[in-house]
Amino acid sequence: METTLPIRRPKRWDKPLDPALTQEDAEWLLSLAPLAYLDPTKFPKSTPLVEIIRNDCRACQYEHGDVILREGDYGSSAFLILRGNVRIFVTRLSEAQLGRQATPRKTWWQSLVSTMRLQRFAEVRNTESLGATTSASIAIRQPNGQTHVFLQDVDRLFDTHQTNTVKTGEIFGELSAINRSPRPFSVVADGPVVLLEIRWQGLRLLRRDPGFREHLDNLYRQTSLASHLREVNLFRFLPEEQLTAVAQEIRFESYGELEWYNEFEETQQLDVQKRIQRETLIAEEGTQADHLLLIRSGFARLSERQGSGHRTLSYLGRGHQYGLDEITHNWKAVDRTQFLPYQRSLRAIGYVDVLRLPWKVLHEKVFPFVRASEMPPAIKQPRYEPTRPIVDSPLKSQSGEIETGLVEFLVDERLINGRETMVIDTLRCTRCDDCVRACATFHDGNPRFVRQGPQYGQWLFPHACMHCSDPVCMIGCPTGAIARDTNNGVVSINPDTCIGCQTCAESCPYDNIRMVQISDDRGRKLVDEQNQLPILQATKCDLCQSHPSGPACQRACPHDALVRVSVGDMPNLVEWLKRHAA
């Protein structure tokens, strides 16, 4: 019996963004400005420029008033205008104008009354407001099977708001697509417009062109680098002149896969060592500590070799830095031959954007302005030294104040993404389900989480929305029904604009979004009038944000076993774990 089956090796671009785009189309697009300015010789043979355009781009058509980008949304594409104009709203459009429903905060009395009311049927929705959107200013149209939201009174909005016109040949949305950051502004079509959508994979490849790369880097340098650097302790008190000089020396780099969530389940099936090998290595222990790496977005695994594998020591997120200990140690060292290499390895978990700063810049332009007390201490027992052989370190079951196994688990399950992760201490939880009942009470009788999920020892991480740092569920929502509250970071779904397309539920790698069949206030299940298929809507935990009391689950737990905690914020998590493990 044959034990192997030969197949064609899967390749990049097996699934182009637009299968209808031909080689001729791609060549024609490359003849248009600004794509014509890209230098094809800068691209390797494996990823030629014309193939990037053919496989990672697609043409989209929008009508006058169509919303192309909504402020605060997450997306993974940039847009090049092929024909027509679009308007960028410099002044903000209101949440209602963008088709979002600002969750009204109830008073204590309203909250009490609403939680005491008995709901006879599950998942009841107001049929009047469904599909019609919440405000009279927007509506939905579905040309060629695509869903577009458009502003009804767009001309008046153009008059009353400050806008910038972006014309044919210009590109927008590139920075937030590459950085996985919320869109900083809304973009609306001003007349019929044809756009070339470029997905992030293509954008990354286009960065090989020096001109395009410089354009992106300058854009970031101009818009947000200074404020990002000021968030880092090291640069907080640096004089403006020095900070500008430092900013000029910084290099931007991206590692890993932005669409990590597509392969998450498959990766979970892999052997532990293969899983870690799959992660892109950013810096390796034992190599020259020549750069300070600042994490701009995403997460990275800090590990060290242990036997024939790697032991995770910690995970780094936005604002964290790598290599500072070694570079500071080397700065204090008198003899340059005693310079220490990196003591730990850094790998991209999913994707990570880093800022790379050479050690010389730190030595000359930063360290003279930092107080000695704020500098990290010298490394007392380095693992790697230039003159000594590398010896495997003894096995430690703790990583700082947290069990190593738990750190590995949090990273492997990508729970580090959670900002409001539900954690249950099963050594205190009596399984009374008061948390589930409370959740149902606060959501008209429909619980928004399941008290089951990944578990490490006594710590259970139920399937409840974590309101992630990297909210992948928000990518691709055609109506913007799933949105993040800019004030408190809560990700919630607007039932009036959710069309039940399941994009968010399928994107969520944690299975924390459930599709439910909805009914009217008389308990009749709602079905499509054309094909009689049930109408579904996405539901998830909204942290009870309409109630003044906060998350009901945490409030209702009688045994102090449940908490909503930011797993990405390790000190906070450690404090809670320590208190419970004691």
Binding site: W108, C432, Q452, L460, A556, C557
Partner: protein, 283 residues
Amino acid sequence: MQLNVTQLLHRPWSFFAQRCISWAITFLAIAITLCCVWGLTVRFGRSDLFTGYSLLGVCLLLAFLSIRKRMLALPIGPVKVWLQIHLYAGVLSLVLFVLHVGWFNGGWLELMLGSLFLWIAGTGLYLWYLSRRIPKRLLAVGRDVVLEEIPRLQQQHAEQAYELALKSTQLGEGVTLADYYQQKLVPYFHAPRSLFFGIVPSIRTRRRLLRELDTLDRYLGTEGRALRNQICDLVRKKDELDVHWAMQNQLRFCLTMHIVGLWALALLITVHVTTVLAFVQRG
């Protein structure tokens, strides 16, 4: 360093510190009560009225946990705080009960009232014990299961065991496994466990079945043994589910008993207080 009272109050106390503070407050309340009773006794006052009203007040405080759980939107602190108040007020209520009743010499109403109070105290103490025992026991069992999921999973395991037993007859190794399934595993997988298991779940039956399945090895070939291993796995899983079922239901049953007693007590207290007040006014 300035002492910030708000920060101090919002600091997450360790469980040990919480317990120390709660016990200190409880003992202080008991001491104050004893002093008051002693003071009233030496001055020939009505200490029974004092302990009676105090007991009534504490009982109302105890009952408030139930109301708090139903009115989660009320801005009066999380349930965990109210449960702690409930526990320590329960201790105080026992002291007040002893002071109020003394050597029991009342009529049938008082006898019922006292018995009911002790019933609630007893179930309360047992609930407290369960709340500490159940998490440890369930964590030791292994995988966590939601109570509502258990019947479905039990059914699934029973069907899988049946399939395996049936499959074993097709291997040409005789009907050993199928016979054993028919004799011992059908009741195990399909019938509910005993009432005793419901109160004190143990792994005795599982051990016996696994031991017996082990001894079947000598009558089985390689494939039969593989099937036997799978059946053993199902026996283990079924037992885990049964333990979950028993423990989680035990907690719910005791809680129901505790709350039913509470409502009955509320009714009898009303009768008792009305009667007492009528006699006090006459006297």
